[in-house]
């Protein structure tokens, strides 16, 4: 608590030195929530895979990138379709193909090595990420691309203004997507048999197996879901930042930090962690220097690993034991 007060005091002091008023803070927080919502989507992918398989999938960032890049690629193909329809199809294409990629990654790399040491599995998922980034570089080169904003269907997004605060319309799409995904996940885990089987696997893999649930299929499903979640994050983010072949690294790492903040096993925790991380780093970077933005995320990570490895939301004791 004292640390929180101190933190806020430091932020206010630094902000004061830069002449920040309430408007600037609200702006920073709003932008932070937008970035944080993307982290939340990525973190959900980490949580799903970790819960079911006990693996931290460092390739998650690769799924984000692949979703974004594939959507851009589809959108850039000349098709005799209305712009809106083509963009919608591009979104679906990006997410669907990435989901298949996720399933392939599980079958080709995780499945053959499922009995290996944790160290081996970490290096494998890192290797998968490098491979995906390399493929993206091979296919799309090192250029940054554009995906039109969902509202205007153009590169220039519509900007909503109110009392000096600016909000890109794409932010609303991002929040809407996050809400829809959360509701969807809730229904999937609570109301469908497959979702319940996944949860059973997360609670106790051995017992789930004895109940006739095939853990290998659940592992496959969890990777496909994680890939889909990552790709959704990548696609809705694309109009706000320009997709590029190496965008997955930072996003993946920050998604992971968000997942850890949320305790690594909890979906609501991941969402809260993601948004909190987004706000924290954006405000901290705002009052200091933009170049330092990435440091704050990792300082947060290290502080959490040291002091509250079970996550700040709690309930993550299982994650620590792994």
């Amino acid at each position: 608590m004292a640390a929180m007060v101190l933190l806020v005091a430091i932020v206010l002091y630094l902000g004061h030195a830069k002449g920040f008023g309430p408007v600037q803070y609200v702006q920073l927080i709003l932008d932070g929530v937008r970035g944080g919502s993307i982290y939340a989507l990525i973190a959900l992918g980490f949580v799903v895979v970790f819960n079911v398989t006990g693996i931290i999938n460092f390739a998650q960032g690769g799924f984000v990138m692949s979703g974004a890049m594939l959507a851009v690629a589809f959108n850039n193909v000349d098709l005799p379709l209305p712009h809106a329809l083509q963009l919608a199809l591009a979104v679906v294409f990006g997410v669907a193909v990435t989901t298949v990629i996720g399933a392939l990654v599980e079958r080709l790399t995780i499945f053959p090595a499922r009995h290996s040491h944790t160290l081996t599995l970490i290096i494998i998922t890192v290797g998968v990420y490098i491979f995906m980034q390399g493929m993206a570089l091979l296919i799309w080169g090192a250029n940054a691309y554009n995906l039109p904003a969902f509202t205007t269907l153009a590169l220039e997004d519509q900007i909503l203004r109110s009392g000096g605060i600016m909000l890109k319309a794409q932010s609303l799409w991002i929040w809407g997507t996050l809400a829809v995904v959360l509701v969807g996940l809730y229904f999937f885990f609570e109301r469908t048999l497959v979702g319940k089987a996944l949860r059973a696997c997360a609670i106790n893999r051995r017992a789930a197996e004895l109940m006739g649930i095939n853990p290998s299929r659940m592992s496959l499903l969890s990777f496909a879901m994680a890939a889909a979640l990552g790709a959704i994050g990548g696609v809705v983010l694309s109009p706000a930042t320009r997709p590029i072949y190496d965008m997955g690294l930072k996003l993946g790492l920050k998604g992971f930090i968000a997942a850890i903040m949320g305790g690594m096993v909890s979906s609501p925790g991941a969402v809260v962690g993601g948004i909190l991380l987004g706000v924290l780093e954006n405000v901290a970077a705002g009052v200091t220097r933009a170049g330092f933005k990435d440091i704050f995320a990792f300082v947060v990570l290290i502080l959490i690993l040291f002091f509250r490895p079970q996550g700040i939301i709690g309930g993550g004791e299982r994650g620590v034991e792994q």
Binding site: I56, G127, Q133, L137, A142, L249, L305
Partner: protein, 375 residues
Amino acid sequence: MQRQGWRRHQISIGIGVFAIVIFLLGWIEMARPLGFEFSDVTGGIVGFDTLIRVGLLTIVVVGLNMLMGHAGQISLGQAGFYAIGAYVSAIMTTRAASRGINVLFPGVIREEWWWWPWLMILAGMVVTGGIAYLIGRPVLRLKGHYLAMGTLGVGLIIFVLFREGGTFTGASDGVGSVPRLCIGSFEMWPRERYYFLVWAVALAVMWLSLNIVNSRVGRGLRAIEGSELAAQTMGVDIEKFKLQVFVLSTVYASIAGSLYAHYQTLVNPTPFGFVGSLDLVIMAALGGLASIWGAPFGVGIVYVIKEVLRARLQTLLRGAGGEHEIIIFGLLLVLIMIFMPQGLSYAAGKAFGWLRNLSRRERKNPIDRLTEKAT
């Protein structure tokens, strides 16, 4: 376990053989027997420069081997410590020497002090080791994925601090015109001299590490890798052992970083980021995580692949400066980890043993072979 006969000197003999190979390679470059240069031997793909870089990174990878292979503690941030060594040397032999310290105390550091850069290599080791000691205790409490992320975070923080360090670290331009190393008036240059220096250090580091690994400490480390709980029960002070090996590995990285700074004469943040740390892990994994002998080969193979790809793929790919190798590396890393997680040197050793058994079997008569099978 006391080894008998020549096996007692196995490490020294191995290092000796290795030293002869290194010497011969250097001699080929220096003397140019029959008028051919070193790069001709490899068909123009691997130059002499590459050999020096392999030597530099071998020093880092040996440390990583001890940390990951022997103590079972992953580090995805080793390039950060490599950077600290490089920057301490670069800053202290250029800027601080000429601007900082000399502005405060004019004429304190003199040009003719040939030993100043060497002292700064030591200073880099102390600084790196000190930082590693301070952050090592909390970081090494983490396990598995958490340790991977913790070290990655530390590495990235170091990287960003150097990149955003303003005029002190030269931001993304880095620090230039680092002087060459000298002993008295004997300059460690041209390249051949530096090659011998780098490899002498690399061999010393390998020799030291092999001896550590084959000692009580090494057995303690392997016990930690097997099971921390069991090791602790058997009286191994796991916190102390892990911290020591972590500090040692970062000190190795720091030496290599300093030598890199004096070789390149320019230090900028680019090679020290996440990709740099990953490269190191790939090299360690290729050579065999627990194999110190594998380190130079792991580094060498990665460099050869890089050079070949750079030569062959340049025309194939658009844009992108020098990152083509990641396509192959990702795949390579995954395949190695799935099919031979103990690395190439282990696989090679196994293949060698298999061949030897094969030839031995040929000599035995068929009846012996049958009885061998039955038992």
